[in-house]
Symmetry: C2
C-alpha cells in the first residue's frame, strides 16, 4: 500500500500554530518522523483561510529541505496548487479533483502540465454519492474524462468518498462495495481513501478508522492518507497486505517484524 | 456477531494441566471471565488423547455449575459428543461436521436428536479446499445435505476452512471471497470461522488473526471462535459491526464505549 503521510496538515491545531508563527523546525521534524516511519508520499496542507497559497508554498519549501519523498498537495484551491506545483522537485500528487465542472476544469490543466498523480474524489455536481452505484458511476465518469484527456490510469487514485457511519448504517457497506467494483472494473487505476471521515461524530475514532482501513484493504484499496508514525496501524497494514494476497509468503510482513516494527506487541 | 469463547480448550497447556489434575476452580474462573466479557456461547474442548469423552463430560458439568450460557462441544469424536450432549442443559452447538462421509454419517444423527446448532466445516473426502470455488461447492453440498435431513438453515454455521497464509498468498483471498459468496447464496445460514489457522507459522499471530477477522466481518461473517477477554479484539468487533452496516446509527458501539469497553484506548 502507498502510505500518504497525513501529519503536515494545517487544519490540525499544532501544525497550524507552527505554520502561522513560521516554526520551520517543527515541520522538518514532522517530515523526518514520517519518512523514517516509511511514508511513500507526504501530504501537505496549508489550509488557513485567505493565506492558503502562501502557506502551502512555504510548507513545500521547508519539507523539501529535508526530504526527496514526493508531496501530495492537499488543496481545493487551484490558485494555491498552481503556485505550489512548480516548487515540487518530484512530480507531485494533487488532492483532489472531483466531477464538479468548475473544479474539474480548473484542476485538469494542472494535472497535465505537471504530470501529477491525482486523487479523483467521487463527488459530482448533484447530491453527494448516495450509495455504491452512485460512487461507481462518478468514478467511471472521472476515470473516463481523465484518461481521455491523457492522464495515465496508473496516475489516478480514486477516492470513493467516505461518509460518517454515525449518520446511517448504509455508508460503510456502500464504500466497501464500491471499492470492490471499481477495482474490478479498472484494475490499472489505484484506489485510495480519506478513511477518517468514517468515524466523524463517534468516540474511539482511531480504532474505527483502523478497522475500516483493514476492510478496505481486503477490497483492493492500495493507497491511503494515514499517520505513518502510528506503529499499531502500520503493523496492521502489513498484516492486511499479506492477508489480502499482496505479500507472497508474507516476506514483507516478516521483514517488518524482524526489523522491529512490531516490537510494541511485546509490551 | 456471535462470540464463541475459545478459552476452555484442552489443547492449551494451562487448561490441559487443570483438566488432568481436576482443577475445577480454574475452569470455573475461565467461565466467569468469558461470560462477564460477553461470550454468547462457550467452546468446550476436552481433547486429551484417549480420555476425550470422559474429560469433555467433566468439563460440561463444571462449566454448567456457573453459567447457563450454551456450550459448543468442540470434538471430532462422535463417541465423546454422544456422551456429552445429553448433559447440556441448553441446546448445544457441535464443532464440527464435515462433508467427509464417515464423519457426516456419525455426527448428523446427533445434530438431529439434540436439535443442536452445528459448525459445517468445508472439508470433503478429497483434497483440502484449494480455492473459493471448492469452498463454495463444499458449503453448498453440506447445507443441502443438512437441510434435506431437517436441520433448519439458521442452525448451520458454515466454516470456510481457513488455511495459513504463510503457505501461499492465495489462501486469504480464497476464504474472503468464499464468505462473500456463501453469504449471498444462503442468507439464512450463518458463517463462522476458526480464524487463528490463518497465522500458523507467522510471528505476531494475534495481530494477524485480528486483522483477518475484521476483513471477514466486512464479508458477512456473523460468528467466530475468539477470546472474549481480549478487550482490543472485542472493541474492534463492535467497530466492525457498525462499519459493516449491522449496528444502526452505531448504537451498540456507543453503548459498549459508554460502558467502559474501550477504556483501554485511553491508556
Amino acid at each position: 500500500m502507498v502510505i500518504i503521510g497525513e501529519r503536515i496538515n494545517s487544519t490540525r491545531k499544532r501544525i497550524q500554530e507552527a505554520v502561522l508563527k513560521g516554526d520551520a523546525e517543527l515541520i522538518r521534524e514532522e517530515v523526518r518522523k514520517q519518512v523514517a516511519a516509511g511514508a511513500d508520499i507526504l501530504d501537505v496542507n496549508g489550509g488557513v483561510a485567505g493565506r492558503e497559497a502562501e502557506l502551502l508554498c512555504w510548507l513545500v519549501g521547508i519539507v523539501q529541505e529535508v526530504t526527496d519523498v514526493p508531496l501530495c498537495l492537499d488543496s481545493a484551491d487551484p490558485v494555491a496548487l498552481r503556485r505550489a506545483l512548480p516548487l515540487c522537485r518530484k512530480p507531485a500528487m494533487i488532492n483532489s479533483i472531483t466531477d464538479e465542472q468548475a473544479r474539474f476544469d480548473a484542476v485538469l490543466p494542472l494535472v497535465l502540465e505537471f504530470r501529477a498523480r491525482v486523487i479523483a474524489l467521487c463527488m459530482s455536481e448533484s447530491a453527494p454519492p448516495a450509495g455504491a452505484d452512485a460512487r461507481v458511476a462518478t468514478a467511471t465518469r472521472l476515470i473516463e474524462r481523465l484518461t481521455t484527456a491523457g492522464v495515465p490510469p496508473g496516475d489516478i487514485y480514486v477516492d470513493p468518498c467516505v461518509f460518517p457511519i454515525s449518520t446511517g448504517p448504509e455508508h460503510g457497506p456502500a464504500v466497501l462495495d464500491s471499492v470492490t467494483r471499481i477495482r474490478s472494473l479498472y484494475p490499472d487505476v489505484h484506489v485510495s481513501a480519506g478513511v477518517s471521515n468514517v468515524s466523524f461524530g463517534l468516540p474511539g475514532r482511531k480504532l474505527v478508522n483502523e478497522v475500516f482501513l483493514m476492510m478496505l484493504l481486503s477490497r483492493g484499496l492500495d493507497a491511503a492518507i494515514i499517520d505513518p508514525c502510528d506503529e499499531g496501524l502500520v503493523a496492521r497494514v502489513k498484516a492486511a497486505e499479506a492477508l489480502a494476497g499482496r505479500d507472497e509468503f508474507c516476506q514483507e510482513f516478516l521483514v517488518a517484524f524482524r526489523g522491529g516494527m512490531m516490537d510494541f506487541l511485546k509490551k
